[in-house]
């Protein structure tokens, strides 16, 4: 990747260009252009990220509800959260969903990527079929799955009934609502799979031959070559997967309205109802900051833990 031009990140540590009238005038012009070109992003970052971030933190320290004047209440919202059963419920639901959906997507995605990669003549056809579900827009997917989960005439219960098996109430029963949504999310493992597939192309082939020469079989090849080389890709899918699933919203809003009996009260959905249904802008902002902290801590833990199992090729990414 860093063939022709050196990476600017490392370039920056080198001393500035040699001085001299002509050069420095050119350098100044270049700097002006540079700042000008980066201006959209800088302004965007200030207006749409930093500004709202600061505002959100200030909101979180007030009892602001729409239509009433806000009062400064310090950490009152954060204290209230501790005693809010719905906060804990939403945190539990989200954690449950993440702990199941992410590992399933990773394992299934990895296994299918290996299967697809096993030298079939129509590899791209298989890849396309497994990837297709991820293309379905979230709302369309939600509408489709409401119908699939329909207890009377939906796909699942129709098939189960035809086979003489017991049926389920899927998203309409407290105990099966989240598992149903996990099944639905597994349908979209194609994203993780495609990234694994790309990773598999980078595993050096000669190492497989080396294992074969030492008399190693398929398992040894997998365990000592494929798996170590894939750890960075696994790690990438893990981090993005966790961050993504922690922020699910659409399913809860469109399919279950957080129910039944708050069984699918996902964190962001709870935050949304606090802010835009109950107009509790102060409390909802506090919820957002707690989510931010949770995501930060999880990511930090994953990165710390990664040192012990993620393998980087010498001279590679690190």
């Amino acid at each position: 990747m860093s063939t022709a031009t050196a990476d600017p990140v490392t370039e920056a540590t080198t001393p500035p260009r040699p001085a001299g009238r002509r050069r420095s005038r050119m350098g100044r012009a270049e700097a002006r252009w540079g700042v000008l070109f980066a201006m959209p992003a800088i302004l965007g970052f200030l207006i749409f990220t930093i500004g709202p971030m600061v505002a959100s933190f200030i909101f979180s320290l007030t009892d602001w509800t729409v239509g009433a004047a806000p009062n400064f209440i310090g950490l009152g919202n954060y204290q209230a959260m501790v005693d809010d059963p719905l906060f804990w419920k939403s945190l539990g639901v989200t954690t449950y969903y993440t702990l199941a959906a992410v590992p399933i997507a990773l394992v299934v995605g990895f296994v299918v990527a290996m299967l697809v990669n096993a030298g079939w003549r129509r590899q791209s056809m298989w890849r396309t079929i497994y990837y297709l579900p991820t293309l379905v827009p979230a709302v369309a997917s939600a509408v489709l799955w409401i119908w699939i989960f329909n207890p009377d005439s939906g796909l699942f219960n129709s098939v189960l009934r035809a086979l003489g098996l017991p049926t389920s109430n899927w998203i309409y029963a407290e105990s099966t609502a989240v598992p149903s949504l996990i099944i639905m999310s597994t349908w979209g493992f194609g994203n993780a799979m495609v990234i694994f597939l790309a990773g598999l192309q980078g595993v050096p082939r000669h190492l497989y031959e080396a294992v074969a020469l030492d008399g190693g079989g398929a398992w040894a090849k997998f365990r000592h070559v494929t798996l170590p080389f894939m750890t960075p890709v696994i790690f990438y899918n893990l981090v993005t997967g966790v961050i993504g699933t922690f922020q699910v919203f659409n399913q809860a809003y469109i399919m279950t309205s957080g129910g039944p009996n708050n069984a699918t009260l996902f964190y962001i959905y709870y935050l949304y109802t606090q802010a835009f249904t109950d107009s509790q802008m102060g409390y909802a902002s506090a919820l957002a900051w707690v989510l931010f902290l949770i995501v930060l801590v999880i990511t930090a833990l994953l990165f710390r833990n990664a040192r012990s199992w993620v393998y980087y090729e010498a001279g590679g990414a690190r």
Binding site: T5, G34, A38, P40, G44, S124, L144, G202, P232, V310
Partner: protein, 301 residues
């Protein structure tokens, strides 16, 4: 995140067919693997089959038990019925207006910024780039409420402005990733080309438009595709900012259609199919870029 991301990027770059290294290729194992592969594929396609057959069935046939698989008669009328039950043409036009504004703004400002970060020197550049990258970590919920309050204070609710204007500031939010992606690509273009142009008296804008951009078509196509899909799929944005149904997008329109016509599965599936089809067609036309893009971004829009 960036170190792992970079390794994914570099890994994806080596495009080499290396199939069949793991399995020995014994016929029985191969047959088993093929069966699993085929069974899995059938399971993946099942919801699509269910979608299409329901979209083509009358209500009477949909509720027959045991379920029917072949629509008879084929209820083509579900499509005109669904699309006129609510103003879906209007939703489509609204969506396309937003698409054009967002895609243009994102591609233009993100590549301009990426050009600055990749090929121009200025003090504080790497610091600014690093700061922008940290924005990737921020959950969208943190900025959601103040942004909404801000647009409300400006009287921009129920317009396309909150959904489109941020794109003209390098996308804001998801835009950082686009900048990163385009910058990575720009870094692979030899700097000698810029230098030659500067010696001939070109300014950075000319180098950007005449040299770097024409060479960067692959990454621009990828960013365009994923931005397009992101807008097409966006639900929360339109839900927050659009209230008059004349302003709805397809995604928001479909969601309200679902809550209005709860039990009319034929119509609902027909409408869903219409929302899904353009993306699937886009995929088949631009498949090469898609695979490249997913490998590069790792994230669906």
């Amino acid at each position: 995140m960036s170190s792992s991301m970079r390794s994914v990027l570099s890994v994806g770059r080596r495009r080499r067919r290396t199939g069949d290294q793991v399995t020995g290729g014994r016929p029985l194992t191969r047959a088993m693997m093929f069966l699993i592969l085929a069974f899995g594929a059938a399971a993946m396609l099942m919801p699509f089959v269910w979608l299409v057959r329901s979209a083509l069935m009358t209500d009477a046939q949909i509720f027959i038990n045991p379920p029917q698989w072949i629509p008879n008669p084929v209820a083509w009328e579900n499509f005109p019925d669904a699309l006129t039950a609510q103003p879906f043409v209007r939703y489509f036009l609204n969506t396309m207006i937003i698409e054009v504004l967002v895609v243009t703004g994102t591609v233009l400002t993100c590549s301009l910024t990426a050009f600055s970060f990749a090929r121009l020197r200025w003090r504080g550049r790497n610091l600014v780039f690093g700061l922008l990258l940290t924005g990737v970590m921020l959950p969208y919920a943190v900025t959601l409420i103040p942004t909404f309050v801000g647009w409300a204070a400006l009287g921009a609710l129920d317009t396309f402005i909150p959904l489109t204007l941020p794109a003209w500031f390098a996308g804001a939010g998801g835009g950082v990733f686009n900048i990163f992606l385009i910058r990575q690509f720009f870094l692979t273009i030899p700097y000698e080309m810029d230098e030659a142009a500067y010696i001939d008296g070109a300014n950075p804008w000319q180098v950007f438009t005449r040299i770097v951009m024409p060479l960067s078509k692959p990454v621009i196509v990828v960013v365009t595709i994923f931005t397009f899909i992101g807008v097409w799929n966006d639900f929360l944005g339109p839900l927050l900012y659009l209230t008059d149904s004349d302003n709805f997008t397809l995604a928001l329109g479909l969601a309200t259609f679902q809550s209005t016509y709860t039990a009319q599965w034929g119509l609902l599936m027909a409408a869903s199919l219409v929302v899904i089809l353009p993306i699937v067609l886009l995929f088949f036309v631009l498949q090469r870029y898609f695979v490249e893009g997913v490998t590069l971004t790792g994230i669906k829009g």
